[in-house]
Structure formats: structure tokens, C-alpha cells
């Protein structure tokens, strides 16, 4: 249908974006790949030498590496569990006829628009602080010992903050999906005597499955890169207790000035992200075919 002319025009129109992204992807990534095989420290830039797989070996044998991988996994799975389950529950709640629905919706989605450093500092200082936080006030009110969240449960505290930020996203998407559920189907199921639990399991959940998949995949992409929340609250500690892979690479590269080590960690992160990406592309790609 398209003539040769429009084809050429279309290519020209796409070229700036494609070239920009190609440059943005190829140059830094090949540099990372190159550095990952070099012994290169920014403090001793004159001593650059080929290091083979040394950097990978260094990363692999570092006990912090497995702690970081484990923490990344817990962080991602923990936040996903809270946001998906919470998102379905709140989505179902907001799908009911209630007074002031618009305002309730606005209140619920608000945390998503709070920039990560602000979100983390509000929680750190005003909610979870062991002496002045609201949770400490509540504990004191009941005569309990306040919990020092970031010292005793550092990873859990980060999970709570990140889950608070992403719960609105999950809720909003699941609510959108819920609202597209055919009302007649619901009524028919009700007429046939299906109770709430049965309706939820056999009608609502299958209808939501696609939206849930999308929520899980997109959040995973962002959750693998959690950084600012850790930086301003625990700074990865105590020890490596709340260091995820992103933060470990940042530590190695920026605080340790170890270019080679940071690059090897970066390549490992790319491989992990790709595994997730393949699934996401499939889910989104399916939609394109429709």
C-alpha cells in the first residue's frame, strides 16, 4: 500500500529516534563490556591492564555479591507481593459504589508522584524514626518499646517504603482492568448463585490475569534498579544488610573507584534484567498483534 516515497519519508522520520537510542545503547554498553575485562581504578588511572575474567571472579567470590543478589530478590518479591495483593484488594474496594470516590482515588494514587528521596526521607524521619516517628509514638502510647526499624529490619523497612510508592501504580492498573469487566457477566454469575469468593476466583481473577502480569513485569524492571530509597535511608547497611545489586555496583564503581569491578557487576545486572525483559516483551508483544 505504501509507496516507495512514503517509505523513504517514514524512514527519515524514524531515523533521529532510532539513531539516538542506538548510540545511547551501543556506546556505553560496549564501554562497560570493555572495562569489565580491564584492571582499571580511577585512583590509579595510569595502571590500566587487561584483566581477563578477574573482575567477574572478584565479583563472584565477594560474599557481598550473593548477599546483594539475595537482597535484590527479596526486595523485588516482597514489594511485588505487597503491591499486587494490596492492589487487587484496594482495586476491588474502589470498584464498589462509595461516596467521594474521586477524592479517595486521588488520595490512594498520590504516593506514586512523590519523588523517591522525599518518600524515603518522610518515612525515615517522620514515620519510622525510633524516637520521634509516628510508629514510635504509637508504640509508646501502648507502652511498648519503639522499634528501630532501619537498624533492626533494614531491608524490610526499604521494602515498606518502596511498596508504598508502587502500591498506587498496581492499584490504578488493576482498577482500570476491573472496570473493564463486563457488568452483564458479573450479573449472570450472581444470578447463577455464585458467591463472592467463586465470582472472584472464576471470573475476576482470570479477567485480571493479564493486568497482573503487566504490573509484575513493569514493576520488576523498576524494582531491580531501586537506588535513591536505599541511599537516603540505610546507605546499604548495616553492613550489606540492605544492599541490592544496583547499590553494590554503585558502591564498587563510585565509592571504590573500581571501574573494572563495577563494569563486571554491570554486565551481570544486564544479564539478569534481560531475563526479565524477555518475558515482558512477550506479554507486550502479544498485545501488539491484536
Amino acid at each position: 500500500m505504501a509507496t516507495q516515497n512514503t517509505k523513504t519519508l517514514a524512514r527519515l522520520m524514524m531515523a533521529p529516534s532510532v539513531i539516538a537510542l542506538l548510540v545511547w545503547m551501543v556506546i556505553p554498553l560496549s564501554m562497560t563490556l570493555y572495562y569489565s575485562f580491564q584492571n582499571y581504578n580511577l585512583l590509579t588511572p595510569q595502571n590500566v591492564s587487561f584483566g581477563g575474567f578477574f573482575n567477574y571472579q572478584y565479583f563472584y567470590t565477594d560474599p557481598a555479591f550473593f548477599t546483594a543478589i539475595w537482597n535484590t530478590l527479596i526486595l523485588v518479591v516482597g514489594v511485588l507481593a505487597i503491591t499486587v495483593i494490596g492492589g487487587i484488594a484496594i482495586g476491588l474496594l474502589l470498584d464498589q459504589p462509595i461516596f467521594g470516590q474521586g477524592i479517595v482515588r486521588i488520595l490512594v494514587i498520590s504516593p506514586f508522584f512523590v519523588m523517591p528521596p522525599v518518600a524515603a526521607l518522610i518515612w525515615k524521619n517522620m514515620i519510622m524514626h525510633p524516637s520521634y516517628g509516628v510508629l514510635a509514638d504509637i508504640a509508646k502510647f501502648f507502652g511498648l518499646q519503639p522499634v528501630d526499624w532501619f537498624a533492626q529490619y533494614p531491608l524490610f523497612s526499604v521494602i515498606v517504603i518502596v511498596a508504598w510508592q508502587w502500591l498506587p501504580f498496581a492499584t490504578l492498573i488493576l482498577l482500570t482492568a476491573l472496570q473493564s469487566l463486563d457488568g452483564e457477566q458479573k450479573e449472570a454469575a450472581e444470578m447463577d448463585g455464585a458467591n463472592f469468593v467463586n465470582r472472584f476466583i472464576y471470573l475476576t481473577l482470570p479477567h485480571l490475569s493479564r493486568a497482573i502480569t503487566v504490573v509484575i513485569l513493569i514493576q520488576t524492571i523498576f524494582l531491580l534498579g531501586i537506588y535513591a530509597e536505599i541511599l537516603v535511608t540505610t546507605n546499604g547497611g548495616p553492613g550489606y544488610a540492605s544492599t541490592n545489586l544496583t547499590f553494590l555496583i554503585y558502591r564498587t564503581a563510585r565509592l571504590g573507584y573500581d571501574v573494572g569491578g563495577g563494569a563486571a557487576g554491570g554486565i551481570i545486572a544486564v544479564v539478569l534484567a534481560n531475563i526479565v525483559a524477555i518475558f515482558l516483551m512477550r506479554a507486550v508483544g502479544k498485545n501488539l498483534d491484536k
Partner: protein, 274 residues
């Protein structure tokens, strides 16, 4: 009886929903309340009634020059969004109206660049920025934010443009419209809502981006994300001031966000959920 029970259940659901919503919103509300407290008040136990001082807002401006990071945030988020639109509008246009066999592959590939972990290219970017003198400059950060959001912008525009029916162009052509008239009178009015939505969502994303802005800026080009993150080390009792700075940092984008609920779903799911 049925009617009564519906009203009753509506009241019950309303109460539950409001409680849940207020719990979720509470940290933001409490930060806003604290920003109107004095410093001793801020750490003096739980209280929802501030003394109503504006002192903190004034102090944040006079002592920490709040206006500078705020200006940087405005320039970076709007600048990078407009730049991304300039790149993306022609691309999305071509993909939507002159698709070829490879269009889908290009779109998927663009999406895949979004999945590259930022930290993996931290060092190359840092070294490149250092060598080109782009560290801590607004230009450098604008380029960075443009590139990381470009795939989302292309995708979002594409999903909007794709919904403009191609038949309408043929109809216009039959009526004797030339290409220029076609663009001005037929296509532009139909494309504007999609472009506006994309603009809105992308400003929000750029405003809140907190990895590259923190890594690549120190003082001159530092936007609010980096400014607020610099408060993370404990410097005595400063919570009321921190709350004031935080409130000012999130208020504009929170309000924009309330208007962008639908676009958010569509843009961040790459059109997979509408």
C-alpha cells in the same frame, strides 16, 4: 429492603475505603502538617495541629537557596520532555501511519533499551560526561533525561496515533485537501490530546527521576531530587524545614499527577492496559 441494604453497604464500603485511603495518604499529609510546625514542635510527639508558622518555607529559601534546584527541576523536566517529543513525534507518526514489517521490531527494540539497568552504564556515562565537561550541567542532564524517557514517549504517542483512523485521511483527500491542509485541519486536532497526555506523563517521570540526576549533578545543575537527597545525613533537628522543602518539591507534580491518572496507566504499560 434491598434498597436499604444497598445504602447500608455503600456506607460501610465508603468508611472502609476512606480509612484505607487516609492511611495511604497519611505520610504525605503528615509531612505537609509538619512543614507548618516549629522545629521543637516537629519532634514533640504526635500532633496533627501545627502552630501554623511559615518560617520553614522562608528559611529553606534564604538558607538553602531552594529556588535554584526548583528552577533546575523545571528546566530539566520540561526541556527533556520537549526534546523527546521533537524526536518522537515524527517517529511515532511514521510507525502509526506507514507501518512496515519491521515497525514492530523497532518498537520492541526501543522498549528493550528502557530495560537496560542504569547502573550498568553508570561508569561509561560518568566518564563520558567528565571528558566532555557535561558533569553537573543542565545540558548534560537534559540529554540524559531525554534519552531515558524517549522509548516511553515514542510508545505512548504510537498508541495514540494508531487510534486515528486512516480512512479519515482518504476522505479528506477526496474532498480535495492537500497534504498541508490534511496535517493542519485533520491530523493535528486529532493528535493534540495524545501529545498533551504524553507531555504530562513525561514531565512527571522526568521530575521524579532520581538515579541519573543524583549521580551526574552536584550543585549547579542539581534538581530537587538531588537537593532533597542531600538532606539525608542527620544535621541536627531540621525536620520541619525538610518537610517544607519536601512539600514544595512534590506539590506541583502531585497536582499534575491527579490529572494524569488515565495517561499513567496507558503510558507506563506501553498500551497493554487501557
Amino acid at each position: 429492603m434491598a434498597r436499604k441494604s444497598t445504602t447500608q453497604s455503600k456506607i460501610v464500603w465508603t468508611v472502609i475505603a476512606w480509612v484505607v485511603a487516609l492511611v495511604i495518604f497519611f505520610p504525605i499529609l503528615y509531612a505537609v502538617i509538619t512543614s507548618f510546625k516549629t522545629e521543637p514542635e516537629a519532634i514533640d510527639g504526635f500532633s496533627l495541629i501545627p502552630s501554623g508558622t511559615f518560617e520553614n518555607y522562608i528559611t529553606v529559601q534564604t538558607q538553602r537557596d531552594y529556588f535554584k534546584p526548583f528552577t533546575n527541576s523545571v528546566i530539566l523536566s520540561i526541556g527533556s520532555t520537549i526534546l523527546a517529543l521533537i524526536f518522537a513525534i515524527p517517529a511515532a507518526w511514521a510507525m502509526a501511519f506507514a507501518p512496515t514489517r519491521r515497525t514492530k521490531d523497532i518498537l520492541m527494540w526501543m522498549l528493550s533499551t528502557k530495560m537496560m539497568p542504569a547502573v550498568a552504564v553508570l561508569l561509561p556515562i560518568y566518564i563520558l560526561f567528565r571528558n566532555f565537561g557535561l558533569l553537573d550541567t543542565r545540558i548534560g542532564l537534559t540529554i540524559m533525561l531525554t534519552l531515558i524517557n524517549l522509548p516511553i514517549v515514542v510508545w505512548m504517542l504510537y498508541t495514540y496515533f494508531r487510534e486515528i483512523p486512516g480512512e479519515i485521511l482518504e476522505a479528506a483527500r477526496m474532498d480535495g485537501a492537500n497534504l498541508w491542509k490534511e496535517i493542519v485541519y485533520v491530523l493535528t486536532p486529532m493528535a493534540v490530546p495524545g501529545i498533551a497526555s504524553t507531555l504530562l506523563l513525561n514531565i512527571i517521570l522526568a521530575w521524579n527521576e532520581a538515579f541519573w540526576t543524583i549521580q551526574l549533578s552536584t550543585t549547579n545543575a542539581a534538581p530537587l531530587t538531588a537537593f532533597i537527597a542531600s538532606f539525608s545525613s542527620p544535621q541536627g533537628l531540621f525536620w520541619a524545614k525538610l518537610s517544607a522543602a519536601s512539600t514544595m518539591a512534590i506539590a506541583p507534580i502531585l497536582i499534575l499527577g491527579w490529572f494524569s491518572q488515565k495517561q499513567l496507566v496507558r503510558g507506563l504499560t506501553f498500551g497493554a492496559v487501557k
